[in-house]
Symmetry: D2
């Protein structure tokens, strides 16, 4: 379903080519005055067509507030908003219903929803639906900031290029703030250049590339989260897999922990002045589902975009025969940079929800 959260509930609606997309945010504290310029700036980080390495499609993401704010402050009622979809003239999307794009939700949506599925622009599975999530997340980020919590993500990997990583145990707020100011958020600018080259090369090949986003939350108190199925990992993973193209979610050292020994992976505690800290943070700030007070570190694997301009094998669902498909038009060779604010938004919403519970 299209609702995220318990005490702070975000319900997303819309399709790529519906009259509008939007969301309803229920459970925000009353009296909060969001800085709307910062909300817009945050949403702009997600919007396509702003950068050389992104798709050309221009999206107008200007949100219209429908309820919940009175003179710029939350009043206790759900904050709801919509974004009009300007581009509603449909190219020949009908064809895609017969010959679904490989590795795209087209096929499973047709199975699930039948002939009435709105396939135009990816319908409800379009990345465009992450715009309202970013709106909601932008509010959550500001509320977390008021509690001294900073959430920021970097592009940890694009195809074969890896960003440098900070020390998970001691990553500084200033490092994250620097990251948040970069149009292409990486710690190593050199890696960033090579990542953009990889994206550009994929574009020239009419192809796409995937990557990994690593998201940090600094300043979380220890003790947040419930055991077993109510842990921080359970909640964050359940939320982050809601972002299109996410294929994996891991914490701290993640899958690499599988190759390690306990003596290497364990994070030795020590007293850092008056505070319990740890020498390393392979755990990514969560032990037994509960925050330890160290930085929360979550890794999100993003597959290469399914929509590519190369000829691909597929099936004709009408004739029930194998066939092939070329998708014309512009393609986004890499959604990873645009997915960074989405990952921050979803992380922020989930963390805030757990804090409000």
């Amino acid at each position: 379903m299209n609702t995220l959260g318990n005490k702070l509930k975000v319900t997303v609606f819309g399709q790529s080519h519906a009259p509008a997309i939007g969301c309803v945010i229920d459970g925000l504290p009353s009296g909060f005055a969001p800085d709307m310029e910062r909300v817009s700036a945050f949403m702009a980080r997600r919007a396509p067509g702003r950068n050389a390495w992104s798709t050309n499609r221009k999206e107008s993401d200007t949100p219209e507030i429908l309820s919940g704010l009175v003179e710029g402050r939350t009043c206790g009622a759900p904050v709801s908003m919509l974004i009009r979809n300007s581009d509603q003239h449909s190219r020949d999307y009908a064809g895609l219903k017969r010959t679904p794009r490989p590795s795209h939700a087209d096929y499973t949506a047709i199975i699930k929803y039948g002939g009435n599925y709105d396939i135009r622009g990816g319908g409800q599975f379009s990345g465009r639906l992450t715009a309202p999530l970013c709106f909601a997340g932008a509010l959550a980020l500001q509320l977390l900031e008021q509690k001294g919590i900073t959430v920021a993500a970097h592009i940890a990997q694009i195809e074969g290029v890896f960003d440098s990583a900070p020390d998970f145990a001691s990553v500084a707020r200033t490092e994250l703030e620097t990251l948040l100011k970069k149009p292409f958020p990486v710690f190593s600018d050199d890696a960033g250049i090579r990542m953009r080259q990889a994206i550009e090369a994929a574009r020239l090949d009419a192809d796409s590339v995937g990557g990994v986003i690593r998201c940090f939350a600094l300043g979380l108190p220890a003790g947040i989260g419930e055991p077993m199925f109510g842990g921080v990992e359970n909640r964050l993973a359940a939320a982050l897999f809601g972002i299109p193209a996410v294929r994996g979610v891991s914490f701290g050292t993640g899958f690499a922990a599988a190759g390690m020994r306990g003596s290497e992976h364990n994070d030795p505690f020590f007293m850092d002045g008056d505070r319990v800290s740890a020498r390393t943070n392979h755990a990514g700030g969560v032990l037994g589902g509960i925050t330890s007070g160290l930085p929360l570190v979550v890794n999100i694997a993003v597959k290469p975009t399914a929509s590519i301009a190369k000829e691909q094998e597929t099936v004709d669902l009408e004739t029930r025969e194998s066939t092939s498909l070329v998708i014309h038009g512009r393609h986004d060779p890499c959604i990873v940079p645009r997915a960074v604010p989405v990952a921050e938004a979803v992380t922020a919403l989930t963390v805030l929800d757990m804090l409000l519970e």
Copy 2:
């Protein structure tokens, strides 16, 4: 919290050294007659002390049914059961409250629950709590089998040793059935030998090793799952992170997808006789949160056990000083083999829940 599922709800209770552990399973179809010998055999795969490569602690996992079965058949009421904890005499666990084990839930549980936290044997965070999950999962597995669905997992990795992997698009039911019969479930028996050597080496070093479990579900119909936050990935990840020591969950090609190009990662559709199939299954059987009809493939990263017999740095929560810790007694150098049936159980419960919705 300790409840999993929507229509099929499993509530787990107990601590390692409480009088009992157990579970309540609400929502099973009425009239189902579980084969209790197979339930016991399944639970035995999880129990420690059965194999050379496992811990020495013997656990009696004999379940006592409290309700829900009449003459061996479900009657519509919740099936509930308990397992008595024989070993309730506590060694000096009190010390662990002062000097928490690095990378163990001890520390965060003390923060969350305060001095009353039941630290004996890992309390409610003990791996022993997975026994009732296996009981519930064993029932789910039998019900799935009636629907033609097979769930089975292999040990894909232990430390630096990797098992061979079947073709995700065409893995056969017979391959999985063979796997289910092996005491150490790997496709490559040679890899299995080297994995056990790695475990044995860790034990001799008073250390532990991690690994990866890969779980398959064959026979799932296409069209199961909801978009966005209700997808199969969201639901499975939320459940699987409930297993102790899980650090990452990914689907199909998982994090490796991040390094691939779309042309390489996309799974080309083709007609396999009358059935839509795909040449590859990098997607792991899920597109847009909804099953495609191809095998479901989920990868689960397990960290090396935190409890090792080596001396480790930690803190004394009373004196608020750094100190060190040696944990005496026997340790399980690798929980991965025992976590295999738990992963199958949790996968089966989640898949059945989604089928019942």
Copy 3:
């Protein structure tokens, strides 16, 4: 919170004087083509200002569909809609924040949300928020109709005037269809005349009157509902108390059952041809939380509107002194007639949700 339902989720947003009110309906089956004229006609039954016995305030309830419908058919994505609020110029509502209206949510909302609460027109507690509920309910009613289920309510009581009641065990579909066509839905037109006289008398006295709505659902299969906390009564009551001014919910004979003996209250079963039926239906179609196949009968007590034009005692929250209050402007002397379609809508949504589970 502002979300109703499990598999069919309706999320309502807006305040009386916000730019808009609306809702998001998630979980409708795909391919359903709602008859929008009938939706409008249904919503018009709720809108004020249409009848002599209602308030004078005119509300434009024209819904604008934002998503979920393609060429008039549901496509699987959430159906979302908004209704613009034309009347946003605020009279002196600020005064009400100091001197809350007795028995109105004003006071508790100020306590809960503080000074930022949007008190204009009753804010998020305004009866106007039931318009989107009626939109959603109108869709549910059409879907139920396709399954042979009719939902209809009558005004069972206004102040001291009682409508006649049909035999709960044998109320006919045609009786309900007649009811649905009446602008003032009562079985006894004579009682209807006296009810309207009671409303008119209250209006002339600058006062208000309450009443009881009784809602029927015909054609429900036996066996719907879960035991204990998942029963039809639990679900319906939880939903119906979401309608403003509802003070009680009962089933079948309701509170009068408390004065009866078992021999009188028990509904004797008999074979009605091939079908199990009952001589009476004091149970209102539900036994142990599960439908019996007899007509579902639910009674909803509605208090007299809190907003009356008489002088009333209240407090000044600023000076912390007792004071008095006269609310100027037009008042609705009785919301019961307008609450009838809302009760039908909420009943239909809840019943459909349970059928879809």
Copy 4:
């Protein structure tokens, strides 16, 4: 389903003739030391066979704690417990599957669960399942007491006899405490005598009588509850309809509000010293779903027990013919007195859940 609550979750299991009944209570604060003697005393109020006016069946309700308590204090893990069912030898219950008792859940349970339904002693629908609810409620009551909140109920009506009612706006804690000490909790001892006479008369007639329970919660802070579907009424009603035989739930003046005018029903605010109070409390302490700080007052209608010893009409589900039925054995002519602690328990659990959220 058999789970109640959000942050404080109670899962009930068992059938009347299963090996055991019990519950799992997840979400209790850590470090709470329940007074087990008071728990037992509270549970004894529910148990049958203790009083002249109740059934003769003796039930041993001694709870066995399975987990969650260490040295008498909650440790953060779910508190779970069971009660063994001593009487498991089944009389001829099989007959009831063919000829279901009128107005009993037998019939709908057979429809829902089929031939495997455990009909012995009412199975999972047995009033016996309220024993674990009382255990859980007893813990909640003690926790509420620590917060200065008193929950107590009286028998407001038995058949045609009505108890006197205190002033809803000013009912005193001492009045409730007196009530809690009475074996037959009424304000007017004279009414209590006549109620018991009515019960005795029903018993002599091989019949049963219903009644009304009115439950109070004193000391609740203002501002608890969420709007629309998250209100105190929604939550309490959803919970209270989980008690067997409940047919209606209302707040404050309840259904009588339907016959009143606004000027009569509105509760005028006034300053009671420094505190906002009201002259009357027709609202029962809730406005717009949110507590006002006045006493919470909820009325619960209980039907006469379906099981009576008189001959009744029913159907033979095998021959599909009308027939008649006499149920032999002892019957409880009135469950209302025993349902009083159950109502208190469910109210306490729901209120505590809302306070913990």
